[in-house]
Amino acid sequence: MINFLQGLFQLRRGPWEMIASILIAAGVFMLMQPYKLELYTYSFVVTLIGTVMFIIVSHFRD
C-alpha cells in the first residue's frame, strides 16, 4: 500500500495505470449494468476520464 501511494506521488506508471484501469472497468460496468439508470447516465464520463487518464499515464516512467 505504501509503495502504491509512493508510486502515485512520484508519478510512476504502474499505480496510475491501475487507477485508470479501475475507472474504465467501472465505467463499462456502469454502462451495461441493469440496476440503476443513474449509474448508466454517468458511465460515459467515468469511462472517458479513465481512457484519457490511461493514455496520459502510459507515458509516465516505470
Binding site: 495505470e17 465505467g27 469511462t47
Partner: protein
C-alpha cells in the same frame, strides 16, 4: 533476364533537374516521401471520419436535410443517449450477448483445440469440418439458422424435443422474447468457436514436447501438467482470442439482423443495430454520432486495459 546496362540507361535518361532534386534529399526525407501516401490515406480514412463524428456529435445535423442550418447543441445529444431507457436496454442486451458468446466460445473452442491437438486418424479432416462455419458469410449463417429455429420444420426444435420430450411447435427460439437472445448466442457460438479453436490450437502447438517430458520425469499428473504447463502457456493466446471476439461481438450486426432483425420487441437489438436505426432510419445524424463516440470510447478503454493485461501475461 535484366539488362546489365539498364540502370545506366535509366540514370542517363532521368531528367537532370529531377535527378539533382532526388540526390539532394536526405535518407529521412526520402523515407517520408515513401511513407506519406500511406499516412495520408490513414488520415483520410480513419482519423478524419473520427474527428468529424466527434464534431457532428455536438450538433443537430441531419443527413437527410442537408440544407437545414446546423446548430451547435453542446452536450444535448450525449445527455439524450445517456438518459434514454431504450438505449440502456440495448446496452444490457449487448452485454448479455457479449458475455455469453465469449464464455461459450472460449470454453468450447479450447476444449476442441485440446482434443484436435491429440494425434489421431482423420485429425486434419475433422479440423477442416470444424472450421467450416467460420468460412461462411454471416448472411448465409443467419438464413441457415432461421430455418433451423423454425418451430414446425426446424431441426433445432426437434433436437430439443429429442432430449426433453417437449412439443417442437410449443416454443419458438426467434419469436419468444426470453429465448431470442439465446438464439443469437447459439448461432454466433456455432459460427465463431472454430476461430477461438484455431488460436488455441496455435498456442497448444507452440508448447515444446520437452516440457511435458520433463514433467513426466518429475511424475507430474495429467491434471497438474494441464494447470502448470498447458494453461499458463496458452493463456496469452486465449486472451488474444477473447480480445478479438469481444471487439467483433461488440460490433455484431449482420448475423443478428438476418436472424431476428433485433426482435421480438427490442430484446435482440444490439448497440450496432440501434445505432444504424438512429442514423439511417430516424436520420438523427448528430445523436447517432454521439452514440458512436460513446461506443468508441468504451471499446477503446476496454481494449487498452486488456492489451495491458495481455502484455503482463506474456512477460511472465
Amino acid at each position: 533476364m535484366s539488362n546489365p546496362d539498364s540502370s545506366e540507361t535509366t540514370a542517363r535518361t532521368t531528367p537532370g533537374n529531377f535527378k539533382s532534386a532526388v540526390t539532394g534529399l536526405s535518407d529521412r526525407a526520402i523515407a517520408w516521401i515513401f511513407v506519406a501516401p500511406t499516412i495520408f490515406l490513414l488520415l483520410a480514412v480513419n482519423i478524419f471520419p473520427l474527428i468529424w463524428t466527434i464534431v457532428l456529435s455536438f450538433t443537430n445535423y441531419r443527413v437527410n436535410r442537408p440544407n437545414r442550418d446546423v446548430e451547435w447543441v453542446g452536450l444535448k445529444n450525449y445527455q439524450r443517449i445517456l438518459t434514454d431507457n431504450g438505449t440502456w436496454e440495448t446496452m444490457q442486451a449487448t452485454a448479455h450477448f457479449l458475455i455469453w458468446t465469449i464464455v461459450l466460445q472460449v470454453l468450447i473452442g479450447f476444449a476442441l483445440a485440446y482434443l484436435i491437438n491429440k494425434k489421431f486418424k482423420g485429425n486434419d479432416l475433422w479440423t477442416t469440418i470444424i472450421v467450416l462455419p467460420m468460412m461462411l458469410s454471416p448472411a448465409v449463417v443467419g438464413t441457415f439458422w432461421t430455418f433451423l429455429y423454425q418451430p414446425q420444420i426446424g431441426l433445432f426444435n426437434y433436437l430439443v424435443t429429442f432430449f426433453t420430450g417437449a412439443d417442437p411447435a410449443s416454443f419458438s427460439m426467434i419469436g419468444d422474447k426470453h429465448l431470442a437472445p439465446w438464439s443469437i448466442i447459439i448461432a454466433d457460438t456455432w459460427m465463431w468457436t472454430p476461430f477461438v479453436m484455431l488460436i488455441c490450437l496455435a498456442g497448444l502447438r507452440s508448447i515444446p514436447d520437452s516440457i511435458y517430458e520433463a514433467a513426466e520425469c518429475d511424475r507430474a499428473s495429467r491434471w497438474r501438467q494441464f494447470w502448470t504447463i498447458t494453461f499458463p502457456l496458452v493463456l496469452p493466446f486465449l486472451m488474444l482470442a477473447v480480445l478479438f471476439r469481444g471487439i467483433e461481438n461488440f460490433k455484431m450486426f449482420d448475423l443478428v439482423v438476418q436472424l431476428t432483425g433485433g426482435g421480438p420487441g427490442n430484446t435482440t437489438t444490439l448497440t450496432s443495430i440501434d445505432l444504424k436505426r438512429e442514423a439511417f432510419e430516424k436520420w438523427r445524424t448528430g445523436q447517432s454520432s454521439a452514440y458512436a463516440v460513446v461506443l468508441f470510447v468504451t471499446v477503446f478503454g476496454l481494449a487498452s486495459i486488456y492489451v495491458k493485461a495481455l502484455n503482463k501475461v506474456k512477460d511472465r
